[in-house]
Symmetry: C2
Subunit: 339 residues, 2 copies
């Protein structure tokens, strides 16, 4: 086994072991918790993520501020658990050894030897992991993908995070950057993505995509979008994916159409992943995936209509994630415990 | 480890063991050989694949005729190697246990307990495998992907066959049908595919796609296609992907443009696979991949321009396959030997 695959205990792991500290460093907040061996949250803590600054000189300050916040939150949680190891999940790419952050788009980390610095500051073992990998691990250990041998998790938030688990091993790829499902080109020449390319899947199926489409309706002063326009007083800049999701859940037809359209794209991309990976289950989590059951249902319908070879092969399950916003920190803690 | 992953000996396997018989059942021919433990072909044999018949009643006869041809070819090769096990690779999906062919589009096999029937007829152990998996295995063991831990192989022929090998294990997926790379939707609403969907990758990057585009040029009586038109005496029906490839290799500008266009699509799809799988090498084989170095070079260029996150992650190698048309039978033999 190569060092870039985290080893799991097999398809049906026993739970147990002492508590561990899990931290999920997001773009807006740092969520942390002391997590028991059975995956239960014993204690919570949190901080706001130090704000992004566009000045390059202050980028370094921001990276240090994020580290300081992580250290503070561990000290808070670890007071009564001096032996608890620490797992840190963050958006971005870790190197194969899990010691360095190669690139974290929102956190101003570039080739940072974060593990070593945190271990020195904390005097505890620290494991770095990708946030989507951590969330997938938690769903496999304690959530919607228990007992499954082949798992694909999608974390729908501002973009699409992804992770694959096969026989209890997170599939990281040769360079540690597998699972970037959101950056598959699905519409050549389509919408520009923050990654620089055009037509990435996450430009069609994510919170950002939903916000963009909602803003488009408001900017066009569409009569079908009266509820959305009223909610933001015709100020398109106030439309977010979360607002569209909320209005759709309340029954607004225009916002339901947007969720439906996104579900079609989501299902198409899921069918593409099934062609490549053939998992037994797709788990849909993240803020948006957890918020909209309608989205997950539409995506499953679209997936089943789009799968190549349907009729000659079984369908994978499409399941909503079960651990909600805590999946990332629970998974990071569990990975740290089991290393 | 689940039973649907064939186990390899690790990242740097020793070669050795007695000879084995490998058979590659294609749509037009059955290629077979006695293969030594070092992957070398010791003896060859072959048959035409019994011809497809559209009458459903005769489909069953065809399946039996293919089996009979496989039995005959094994008897021919096995006369001096009574203990040699047999590996049979075919286009199609095998069930997880490798005992049944679930579906083989060109071979009229549907839920056939082929392994049992062949073992009874031959009195030797028989292993069934997907032809693209077998070819990938051969390239990893003896060809372009030696020493690699994360391998993606593309077999470019009439369509795109695919296989993934991680740490010496073929990744078959939960239901045994992973690696259907050619049926990723890459152009929503695009060309109709034989699988029933629209816009599949193999409709843009395969021998069939090349033939279709060549026929289009001839049908349009395009003045830039004078060499192609002359080669088929203006009869578009005579244009094949192989002809376009040959004229391109001879320097015809119109056919080179078609190869170039296909290389762009090929690279785009490779970048999509890199986003999901992050391998260390892409091996491009199959009849078309082996025939056109220009195609592979263009594909690599396009891949490097399309990869999401380029600049922050290493590029995988893109390598032409080394074992040519024999990869499938060499891989099937080696898999049978190592089971």
């Amino acid at each position: 086994m190569s060092e870039n695959q985290l080893q799991g205990p097999g398809a049906a792991p026993a739970s147990g072991g002492g508590p561990a500290i899990g931290i999920d460093v997001g773009g807006t907040k740092i969520a942390a918790g002391l997590v028991g061996g059975d995956g239960r949250l014993l204690q919570r803590a949190g901080r706001r993520t130090p704000r992004p600054v566009s000045d390059p000189a202050s980028e370094e300050m921001k990276a240090e501020a994020v580290e300081a916040a992580v250290v503070a939150v561990v000290r808070e949680l670890g007071a009564d658990a001096p032996d608890a190891p620490v797992g840190v999940g963050a958006a971005g790419w870790m190197d194969r050894s899990g010691r360095e952050v190669l690139f974290s788009p929102h956190l101003a980390w570039r080739n940072e030897p974060l593990q070593e610095r945190l271990e020195q500051a904390l005097g505890r073992p620290v494991l770095l992991t990708n946030d989507a990998d951590a969330a997938a691990w938690a769903e496999w250990r304690f959530g919607a993908a228990r007992e499954e041998t082949h798992v694909v998790c999608l974390t729908l938030g501002t973009g699409i995070g992804g992770a694959t688990i096969v026989d209890g091993r997170i599939q990281r790829g040769r360079f540690g950057v597998a699972g970037e499902f959101g950056h598959q080109t699905i519409v050549p020449g389509g919408h520009r993505c923050a990654c620089g390319n055009r037509g990435c899947w996450e430009q069609y199926a994510s919170g950002n995509a939903l916000g963009r489409e909602g803003r488009g309706l408001v900017e066009a002063a569409s009569p079908i979008a009266h509820a959305l326009r009223a909610a933001v007083d015709d100020d398109a800049a106030l439309v977010t994916g979360a607002l569209v999701t909320q209005l759709a859940a309340e029954g607004d037809p225009a916002c339901r159409d947007l969720i439906d359209e996104m579900g079609q794209w989501l299902g198409l991309g899921i069918a593409n992943l099934a062609a490549v990976l053939d998992p037994g289950v797709f788990v849909i989590g993240g803020g948006l995936g957890s918020a909209s059951t309608a989205l997950v249902e539409t995506a499953e319908h679209s997936y089943r209509r789009s799968l190549s070879g349907r009729g000659y092969r079984p369908f994978a399950r499409v399941a909503q994630a079960q651990l909600g916003a805590e999946a990332g920190l629970i998974g990071a803690a569990d990975l740290a415990r089991r290393r």
